[in-house]
Symmetry: C2
Subunit: 202 residues, 2 copies
């Protein structure tokens, strides 16, 4: 437990206030690293933060949102992205993936993506948590709806192209891809996502 | 300059011996980080190591091989990979890329790839050096021979899928892709490389 968490708990706080939110983020970071995404329960995080478990839904919309903020430091709620992806037609999923991810990442000029990859390559636990979270709890929903078979393998294939797209655009920054506009990226890369989700892969 | 390099130089050595090789690797690591791949000359590296520039060809087959050992720590000579890729028919390049890279990386159980990504995500210079080296001096040769147009953009697209394939297989280790055999990987991913190099991307 961090000193901050202890201090917050000792100080007491109003239920539902900003200090509750901060206590949850601090507790969640510890519990997710210790237990992994699947092992960490909302109840365990709330208990460690000394707050009611309902506050997790109140502030973060659930475990995914708390994980995103505490560990992945995403500047968006992954549930919103999944909802947008679930709303498109099957034939448009490739394009939707490129547009959604690049729009979100471009907004932070790649800083969020780079920070995420740095923690994933340096900490085995972060890699495990990302894997559990991103693929199993985010992507698999989209793929289960749209893919004909091999859902898990297809999800991992999608993961290769998402991660690689970010690495070249934001980390290695190789031109002309790093500065290519989103329409150019869609034309080149959307067919890859489309095939990985709805096309022939064997 | 490292203490080791200075010590080696003071001690003197037989031309062409193993200590010459080590002095070159140490000097190269410094010069590549200071100057980037393009800015670093064989002459500058040899001068810093206190050896004849011909020793770079003798031990490493040239600047690429020295860079690979000193900075990327690759367990293979990239020139060999490029030669193998240049030898295949245009329609087989996608498959050749998947087979060559996975065979090399699987041999180190992904350790080499993970170390490379860790340095690339942590050090701006390493990312720049990798970019200069890998794409401009390795991949562009293959693509210039096989691609109809947009060579640089196609090279960066190939880069996204290579890096992403390695990240999911070796760093995040998401199953079933992490343990998939190479034939399964070829069937799923080779068409992506093939399209990025010889197919329609706009």
């Amino acid at each position: 437990m961090t000193e901050k968490t202890q201090a917050t708990r000792r100080r007491g706080r109003r239920p539902g206030g900003a200090d509750t939110r901060e206590a949850l983020v601090n507790a969640a970071r510890e519990v997710f690293v210790e237990q992994g995404y699947d092992g960490a329960t909302v109840r365990a995080i709330a208990t460690r933060a000394g707050v009611d478990a309902a506050m997790v839904n109140h502030w973060f919309g659930g475990k995914e949102g708390l994980f995103a903020e505490a560990v992945l430091k995403l500047p968006f709620n992954p549930k919103d992205v999944v909802e947008r992806l679930l709303a498109v037609e099957a034939d448009d999923i490739g394009e939707a993936i490129v547009r959604n991810f690049l729009t979100i990442w471009d907004n932070s000029r790649g800083g969020i993506f780079t920070a995420l990859m740095r923690s994933v390559t340096s900490h085995e636990e972060a890699a495990r948590a990302l894997k559990d979270f991103f693929f199993k709890h985010v992507f698999t929903h989209v793929i289960a709806k749209l893919a004909p078979d091999n859902h898990e393998f297809r999800a991992t294939l999608v993961g290769t192209q998402i991660v690689g797209m970010g690495m070249v655009r934001y980390v290695v920054k190789f031109e002309p891809l790093a500065s290519a506009d989103i329409d150019t990226m869609v034309a080149a890369i959307a067919p890859t996502f489309q095939r990985y989700i709805t096309g022939k892969i064997d």
